[in-house]
């Protein structure tokens, strides 16, 4: 079991309140991602759940039991840190065994579980090495190994992939997702990378300034962002946000349209501009268009290769059904 419930939780450091009163329930077995720009309070929230920081007010319930005053060790959670935080003076085997030793498990049981974890994470041949002799990806695996041997109620990941290079990051992303499918344990994952959030999460919690902006599945957030912040944060490249008369015509202060929901033409369309920088990815081309009133530059995602050059005139037609309208406070208008 691993249901985690936050009730009116707040956190202040001195005068500064970094987490505003917040309610959130994370269901058993769910993969939840906390995402937001740096300083939004996502890591603090994770540390509150872990017990590494004390809440200023409110309650944290783990499986229905009040864990607010419990020390980290008693909460039955495991955490994977951004810096891996492996014990440099211990071999991989002893690193993974450490939580089991602390739980005073029998030698045989410890050996069995370490072997099992090493098998799952492909660490068999590295068990007698020190962390210093491993690559970044291997270290990350050891950190995950140390977490899974405990069979915790939930896993907490604090930006675990941000120290890895891009290729490795994609691989580890898949591995963590597969681990979740295999174990079925509740996972909470903190990241500032919205691609990680979109690809891994069952549910995403978008945070900004210590406030939850929106909670929902990746597609809900993509299709129906509840405000302008979420609209701009989720999706890559970012949603185009248009202000001025064009928005007013649709009855909104700001009009949003994603780069992939526009039709590109050389001859006709309601919005006219000129091509600026184009980014060729092979599968897609991102065009930055100048000259469209209320939004400069305007990004368009075209499928495949597009034969347009810097300075060419283009016309854009938005997919009407996919327009997002926001009021003066940035809230979504249905």
């Amino acid at each position: 079991m691993g249901q985690i419930r936050l009730e009116q939780v707040t956190k202040s450091f001195g005068e500064v309140q970094v987490i505003q009163p917040l309610d959130l329930t994370l269901e058993d077995g769910e993969f939840t991602v906390f995402v937001g720009p740096s300083g939004c309070g996502k890591s603090t929230l994770l540390r509150l759940i872990a017990g590494l920081e004390d809440v200023s007010s409110g309650r944290i319930l783990i499986d229905g039991k009040d864990a607010t005053a419990l020390v980290p060790a008693k909460r039955g959670l495991a955490m994977v840190f951004q810096s891996y935080a492996l014990y440099p003076h211990m071999s991989v085997r002893r690193n993974i065994a450490f939580p089991l030793r602390m739980a005073r498990m029998s030698r045989a049981e410890i050996d069995r579980r370490v072997e099992e974890a090493a098998e799952v994470l492909n660490l068999r041949e590295y068990l007698d090495r020190r962390p210093g002799q491993l690559s970044g990806g291997q270290r990350q695996r050891v950190a995950i190994g140390r977490a899974i041997v405990r069979e915790p109620a939930a896993f907490l990941f604090d930006e675990p992939l941000s120290n890895l290079d891009a290729a490795l990051r994609v691989g580890m992303r898949m591995e963590i997702s597969e681990l979740h499918k295999k174990l079925g344990t509740t996972m909470i994952y903190v990241t500032h990378d919205q691609v990680e959030a979109m690809t891994m999460a069952d549910r995403i919690v978008v945070l900004q300034g210590g406030i939850i902006e929106q909670v929902g599945s990746p597609l809900e957030l993509y299709q129906r962002p509840c405000n302008q912040f979420v609209a701009g944060f989720i999706g890559s490249p970012r949603m185009n946000l248009i202000e001025g008369p064009e928005a007013a015509r649709e009855g909104a202060t700001t009009l949003g349209i994603r780069p992939e929901h526009l039709r590109l033409s050389r001859s006709e369309g309601p919005w006219e501009g000129t091509v600026g920088v184009s980014e060729h990815l092979g599968s897609d081309t991102f065009l930055h268009i100048h000259g469209i009133p209320g939004c400069d530059p305007f990004t368009v995602r075209a499928s495949g290769e597009v034969d347009l050059r810097h300075g060419d005139a283009v016309f854009l037609t938005p997919d009407r059904a996919r327009l997002h309208r926001f009021d003066a406070e940035g809230r979504r208008i249905e």
Binding site: A73, A78, F81, S83, L86, F98, R146, R150
Partner: protein, 276 residues
């Protein structure tokens, strides 16, 4: 830079370094040589460097007149005991300052160091009286406590510096892994800080070994360490330079040998954190 000039510079630097090194080492060398002379040769003018009759007589006399091994054992006991006690007190203190600092931590550190600026003689009278009242005068236990206390600021400062280099996340990981405070200190922090702790132990052992003010003033016979052993040869019956030198050589030899073997560790420890 042309190679010739570079070599010349290197030679010059080496020569200067040797000169300075020998200059610092000379008093020890001279003491060592004098310990093998007769009293007459020791005060001969012009001084004799190597051309004298080497004799072990001074050592024999010194050993006969005073029980060297008893002083040596007291020195080992005082230096070892005060260092061990200091580490036991210093590790938790430095842990709390490095990992759960409060707003006053910096002030406390400075205040602790400031006690080292006080001339020791300023508190001799009160401490002497306390020792009399508690019956600690000329006892090893009393002196271990005093030596520990006077070196504690340095122990805490050094350990604090080493602990600060250890990432807090590793200790947090230990906490998440179910370690209580004792396990965290014992299995994670201490092994990681071992090089730093070793340097601290070495330096404090040396400081306690060489400490003369308190050991001379608070001991007479039973707890007297090697500092008192040397001092006992210094004056009353006129100056006996050769015997004094023999006593000095015997007193500093153990710590010199220890320092020689551990110099790598000491230098590494003292420059820890200076270069990442």
């Amino acid at each position: 830079m042309p190679r010739a000039i570079r070599t010349q510079r290197k030679l010059l630097t080496t020569a200067v370094a040797w000169f300075v090194g020998l200059l610092i080492f000379f008093p020890i060398l001279w003491t060592f040589l004098t310990s093998f002379k007769t009293e007459a040769e020791a005060v001969a003018n012009p001084p004799l460097f190597l051309n004298f009759d080497w004799t072990l007589e001074n050592y024999a006399v010194v050993q006969e007149r005073s029980d060297y091994l008893r002083f040596l054992w007291n020195s080992v006991f005082l230096a070892g005991g005060s260092t061990l006690l200091g580490i036991l007190v210093g590790v938790p203190a430095a842990w709390s300052m490095a990992f759960v600092p409060s707003r006053r931590t910096k002030d406390i550190l400075l205040w602790m160091l400031s006690t080292k600026m006080l001339p020791a003689v300023g508190v001799l009278y009160p401490i002497y009286l306390i020792f009399i009242r508690l019956g600690l005068l000329d006892t090893r236990v009393g002196l271990v406590v005093v030596l520990m206390l006077i070196n504690l600021p340095i122990i805490v400062w050094m350990l604090y510096t080493y602990f600060r280099e250890i990432p807090g996340e590793i200790l947090e990981a230990a906490r998440m892994d179910g370690a209580n405070l004792r396990s965290e200190l014992l299995y994670v922090l201490t092994p990681m800080a071992l090089p730093g702790i070793a340097s601290t132990v070495l330096l404090n052992f040396i400081l306690a070994w060489n400490e003369a003010f308190w050991t001379l003033n608070l001991t007479a016979v039973d707890a007297a360490p090697l500092t008192a052993f040397i001092a006992s040869y210094s004056s009353p019956e006129g100056l006996f330079f050769a015997k004094l030198s023999a006593a000095s050589t015997m007193a500093i030899a153990p710590i010199l040998i220890l320092g020689w073997f551990s110099q790598k560790q000491l230098v590494r420890g003292l420059t820890f954190g200076a270069v990442k």
